[in-house]
């Protein structure tokens, strides 16, 4: 392996480039039209255009990506997460093109990509799953049969898409009378989102936590589980804060859960990095939820407490190397790590996306802080992709110190030009329930609903007064920019526009 094409963009593309560089491997970026000036393009050794901005025209085009690999002479492909990372056709196409796929086999991706097949695999490995139907509901199932099935599972229950993820094609049903409508709704949403309308039923646990186990598995039969990640802080089924270890996981649970995760992976001959997600109920019982057959967004927190570079190991495993890590160390975390996913969203406006140009950027640093990002000052955050602009990670010797450090770092994070979720995190990290570790997968949605859109980071009287004075001072010092905010006024912005215009005239894009 000499040259790795990264079939992705944003922070994860930069993360993989870093890992390759530290191993002495060349890197190839691919980019859509919107990403010509993106950091992963500038950082890679080579870069290939793969099409227009919408993902289906570029980052989801297997043919264009394989063509880029050919043009650039890449001999391996890292899929990152999202886009084609869990697409078995892509994994197979990469292999068929004679390239190394830095990830699991196409067969493992396909198997675990079906929620019902994955549940069957878990059961086969002796791991409990959330009670539910073992196979997808037949398309012709009668309402009466469906009702009988549901009774055996119990209410409340979830209708879930077999090919699902991210809450799409999912419905909660609390009463038998809502069942058939929910199944119809979920089927149509699943069909539209995944091209696969199949759904199944699953019991909805009360106040469960989402706890997951990272795995590395080599091609020589070694499967190593890592200390768990606590991912219960979710907004609309999307993780926003992750931490490790979990306050809810005792040594006994950890031992059982990591053993269960390794057993599932072993039973399907899994290789490379993967993650098994569990639901953990209030009584300490855990249930297999699904397997992610790729690197997770939140992998850095595991790296911080174990000292293992997961991306480096993905590459080494793909090269056929043997895992030679100390198994015990992976389950005995050093300190505590937290990640906040900083999004280009306006938390004070219903978390609406906030695309636009980043005018200034100050990134936190110093002891225990890691910022995995592809954002730079001047970057236009495009409208076509996931609005994640940075993963801010804090490590400290214990959870309270890690939270204090994260708050310190959030205070250093200055992004002007777009809105970000930084103020939301500053608020969350002061919430008594968060500080006490009292939360579950719908905790955040419940709290947010209770706030009913109230602004985060409500300024103190002192700060409001300083803001009033600063606005007036800015008006005195540069009347054009402050007094008529709608004007194209601020100097650096105007300069950038001038450059852009000139670049356009001169045939640059």
């Amino acid at each position: 392996m000499k040259k790795v094409l990264i079939a992705n963009r944003g922070e994860i593309a930069v993360r993989v480039i870093r890992a390759c560089r530290e191993l002495g491997l060349s890197t190839v970026a691919v980019y859509s039209e919107a990403d010509r000036t993106a950091l992963h393009v500038r950082d890679a050794d080579d870069a290939c255009a793969i099409g227009p901005s919408p993902p289906r025209d570029s980052y989801l085009r297997i043919d264009a990506i394989l063509d880029a690999a050919r043009r650039s002479g890449a001999d391996a492909v890292h899929p990152g997460y999202g886009f084609l990372a869990e697409n078995e056709d892509f994994a197979a196409a990469v292999r068929d093109a004679g390239l190394t796929f830095i990830g699991p086999s196409a067969e493992a991706v396909a198997l675990m990509g079906s929620k019902t097949a994955a549940r069957a695999a878990a059961l086969g490995a002796g791991v409990a799953v959330v009670p539910g139907t073992d196979t997808p509901l037949s398309a012709e199932v009668s309402d009466a049969d469906m009702a009988r099935l549901a009774e055996t599972i119990g209410y409340p229950l979830l209708v879930k898409a077999v090919a699902g993820g991210g809450g799409k094609g999912m419905r909660t049903v609390t009463e038998p009378s809502d069942l058939s409508g929910a199944v119809r709704g979920a089927r149509s949403e699943a069909g539209a989102s995944f091209g696969n309308a199949a759904v199944y039923l699953e019991r909805r646990l009360t106040r469960p936590r989402h706890v997951e186990v990272q795995l590395l598995a080599d091609h020589h039969g070694t499967v190593l589980p890592f200390v768990e990640r606590e991912c219960s802080i979710q907004r609309r089924h999307q993780k926003v804060v992750e931490e490790t270890p979990s306050l809810a996981v005792t040594p006994a649970i950890r031992e059982a859960m990591t053993a269960a995760a390794a057993a599932v992976a072993r039973s399907v001959g899994y290789t490379n990095a993967g993650t098994i997600e569990f639901l953990l109920d209030e009584d300490g019982r855990f249930y297999f939820l699904e397997m992610n057959t790729r690197l997770q967004v939140e992998h850095p927190i595991t790296e911080m407490v174990t000292g293992v570079d997961l991306v480096r190991w993905q590459i080494r495993i793909a090269r056929g190397e043997r895992l030679d890590l100390d198994r015990a160390r992976l389950l005995a975390p050093t300190g505590h790590a937290i990640e906040c996913r900083i999004y280009a969203e306006d938390p004070d406006n219903g978390f609406l996306p906030s695309p636009g140009r980043i005018l200034h950027l100050r990134v936190p640093s110093g002891p225990g802080i890691r910022d995995d990002s592809a954002a730079t000052a001047g970057l236009e955050v495009p409208i076509f992709y996931d609005p994640l602009i940075s993963k801010l990670i804090a490590w400290a010797e214990d959870r309270p110190s890690a939270i204090r450090r994260m708050k310190r770092a959030l205070g250093e994070y200055v992004v002007t030009g777009i809105k970000t979720t930084v103020p939301f995190f500053a608020w969350l990290l002061d919430e008594p329930d968060f500080l006490a570790g009292r939360f579950h997968t719908t905790y955040l949605d419940d709290v947010l609903q209770g706030r009913n859109g109230r602004a985060f980071g409500e300024p103190s009287a002192e700060v409001a007064e300083v803001a009033a004075m600063a606005a007036a001072l800015q008006a005195v010092l540069s009347p054009s920019s402050a007094a008529s905010p709608a004007d194209p006024a601020l100097a650096a912005d105007a300069v950038s526009r001038r450059w852009k215009a000139r670049a356009r005239v001169e045939g640059l894009r």
């Binding site: 002007t416 980071g457 009033a468 007036a472 905010p485």
Partner: protein, 169 residues
């Protein structure tokens, strides 16, 4: 100089005058001396007495306000009555007039949750738009009736496209 500054719905009278290389700034009559240093086009460092504040000021065309941050705290500020009240989607209209709901970003309408003529309440979701891989609800900024509905499910819209108009009942 005299300004009317609105921060978080409260209007303050702010006066600014130069004195001895610094600025004397009065807020609603109370004055203090401020040492001001420009960091860059958008950023000022203020020393009010010994208290240090890093303030960035950026125009927010979407709201017609200034987006200020004092340290990590973000605020919307309007100057001299040029305020554009309400949330981003209210398109710059007063709370007691008709409310034009505009798309805050380019995207695809994935669900329309109301019909023309339907009565709606403030903050009720009207449509769901997908952008940046996320589904986002666009909500009514006021109680009223949906007078116009300009989008259908599956339709792509540009930023600023008129989605709906809500008028007082």
């Amino acid at each position: 100089m005299q300004y009317e500054v609105e921060v978080n719905h409260r209007i303050r009278q702010v006066s600014v005058r130069r004195a001895d290389g610094r600025f004397v700034v009065g807020v609603d009559g109370r004055e203090c001396t401020i040492d001001v240093a420009r960091i860059d086009a958008h950023t000022l460092s203020l020393l009010v007495g010994t208290s240090s504040y890093d303030v960035s000021v950026v125009a927010d065309p979407a709201s017609g306000q200034l987006a200020l941050s004092v340290g990590a705290v973000v605020l919307g500020v309007s100057l001299n009555g040029r305020r554009r009240w309400g949330r981003r989607e209210d398109g710059g209209h007063d709370a007691d007039g008709p409310h034009q709901l505009k798309a805050p970003m380019p995207g695809k309408i994935v669900r329309v949750l109301v019909k023309a003529g339907e009565a709606v309440r403030q903050r009720q979701p009207l449509v769901v738009i997908e952008a940046m891989k996320m589904e986002n609800e666009l909500r009514a900024a006021r109680d009223g009736v949906v007078a116009e509905l300009h989008v259908a499910e599956g339709q792509s819209v540009d930023a600023g496209a008129l989605v709906a108009v809500v008028v007082p009942a």
